[in-house]
Structures are given as C-alpha cells and as structure tokens.
C-alpha cells in the first residue's frame, strides 16, 4: 500500500516565518544585532542568556549560552555570513570549538536569513530557516557536503561510502 498523503518538498527544506512590526526597520535591525536587546526577546520562554557576544560582521562569531531555570546551560555558536544593515542578516550554525576545523567549517546544518522590509515606516521581518545548506549557494546540499572536502579527505571517503 502506497502512502499518498505526504506533501513532498518541491524544493529545499525551508521554513519561512513572517511578521510585521509597528516600528522603523533601523530599530528592528538594531534589536537583532545588539545583545542588550536581543536577550530580552530571543527566548525560548523561561530562558536567560548569561553569554551573548556578537561580532556582527561577515565571518564574525555569535556566541550564545542559554540558561534555564533548572540551571542547565546550552552554549551555541553561530557565524554571520552576511550583514547588510538595515536589510539582512544571514548566519549559520558553527562548532563550539573551531580549532579542529582550522579555517574551514563543517557543512552548515542550518542557515537562517532574517530580512527586514520597510513598508511605510513599519517593518516586515521574514525569517527564513533552511536546513543543511550554505545560504544562497546551497553547496553543502548540492555537492553532498561541499566544505568538508577541505577539512578531511578521509571523512569525505567515509561519507561517500554511505551514499
């Protein structure tokens, strides 16, 4: 029996969440790029951020540690791919410890693009979350996992063996 009820993704696995805010986009952009503001809405509910360091430029790191009421902490690290004030922020996940990757990074699991559109003094924010790609180029997916090639040929062979 064939299951026919599934919606096939016609293109990349991506979700887009949009909301319009009653504020100018220079302010909205600032809220997403200034730790003072960001920690006040980033969430999830019940979490605080003892660490939020943002080096807001392409290639810059964004270190964030989430702490919950029970004391558990979750550090994350992201790398900015694009910063175009006040229109666009693009970032990807990055390893907590980059030393093993030297200059290269493992393939992104997720690339997030936040767009700020000016609509007559208000701001439409479009959050685009894309799984396993490196932004517009989509190399990681299309080539299997592009960037890892630079990191380790042994791993490349191991990965190809799984295909």
């Amino acid at each position: 029996m064939t299951d026919q009820s599934i919606d096939l993704p016609s293109d990349d696995p991506v979700i887009i969440i949009t909301r319009t805010f009653d504020a100018p986009r220079t302010l909205m952009f600032k809220l997403f790029t200034d730790p003072y503001h960001l920690v006040r809405f980033w969430g999830p509910e019940g979490s605080t951020y003892p660490v939020c360091e943002m080096d807001v430029r392409p290639g810059g790191e964004w270190r964030l540690t989430m702490r919950f009421a029970d004391g558990s902490e979750y550090p994350t690290n992201s790398i900015y791919l694009e910063i175009a004030p006040p229109e666009r922020i693009v970032y990807r996940d990055a390893p907590l410890d980059r030393s093993q990757w030297q200059d290269a990074l493992p393939p992104a699991e997720m690339v997030t693009t936040i767009l700020f559109e000016d609509i007559g003094g208000r701001t439409r924010i479009i959050a685009n979350v894309r799984a396993n790609s490196i932004g517009a180029r989509d190399m990681a997916v299309k080539m299997g996992f592009g960037q890892m090639v630079a990191a380790s040929y042994a791993r490349l062979e191991a990965y190809l063996g799984t295909l």
Binding site: F21, L31, F41, Y159
Partner: protein, 115 residues
C-alpha cells in the same frame, strides 16, 4: 558528520531528478523502467538515483519479484517536517516576545530603555 539520517535524507533530496522520482512515486508504485521514462536517462543512471533514495530510506522495493516496483516511504520526509516545525514554533514565540518587548521600548518602560 553527515551520516545521520536527517543528513542522508537532505542529501537525497538535493537532486532535482530524485525529487521528481519521489513525486512520481507519491502517485503509486512504479517500475524502474516507468521511472526512467520521463527523464531520458539510462537505466543504470536511474538505478543509481534509486540507490541513493533507498539508502536514505525514502524508497523501498515492492513485493512483485518480476517487476521489482519501487514505492515511496515517507517517514524520513516527516522527520524533516518535524525538525523544521520546531523552528517554526520557536520563531513564532520569538516574534510574540519581540512584539511585547517593542511595545515596552516604545512606551519607555523600565527594562525597555534603549542603550
């Protein structure tokens, strides 16, 4: 490492031919010959794509031993859906909080002062 099931699924979906094969299979079982037809591809080329899809658990072989029809296994696609859904929920809640925070900012309330 890109050997977890989600990565395998995403890698399998990264190719337009493979997505077209899945779209065809969503209509029902099909033999390799039937699948090859619309693509002007050789039998081995289609088999290669099917192998990738099978490894990702997206396609399985039917019971008919003679025609060996392939059928869609949608479970890995659901895993992607669920994974993306968590981010949708996260962003929805984030926008809610942002709206509340923005209102506090604009009223100049404590905790909402601009740096």
């Amino acid at each position: 490492m890109a050997t977890d099931s989600l990565s395998l699924t995403l890698a399998a979906l990264a190719d337009p031919t493979r997505r077209a094969i899945l779209a065809r299979l969503s209509l029902g079982e099909a033999s390799v010959t039937e699948l090859a037809e619309p693509f002007a591809m050789s039998f081995p080329a289609v088999s290669k794509h099917l192998k990738v899809l099978e490894r990702a658990g997206l396609v399985a072989r039917g019971r008919d031993a003679q025609f060996r029809p392939r059928r869609l296994q949608p479970e890995p696609l659901r895993a992607i859906d669920e994974w993306l859904e968590t981010y949708r929920v996260l962003w929805d809640a984030r926008f809610d909080r942002l709206e509340t925070y923005l209102q506090a900012l604009q009223k100049g309330e404590p905790g909402g002062s601009q740096s």
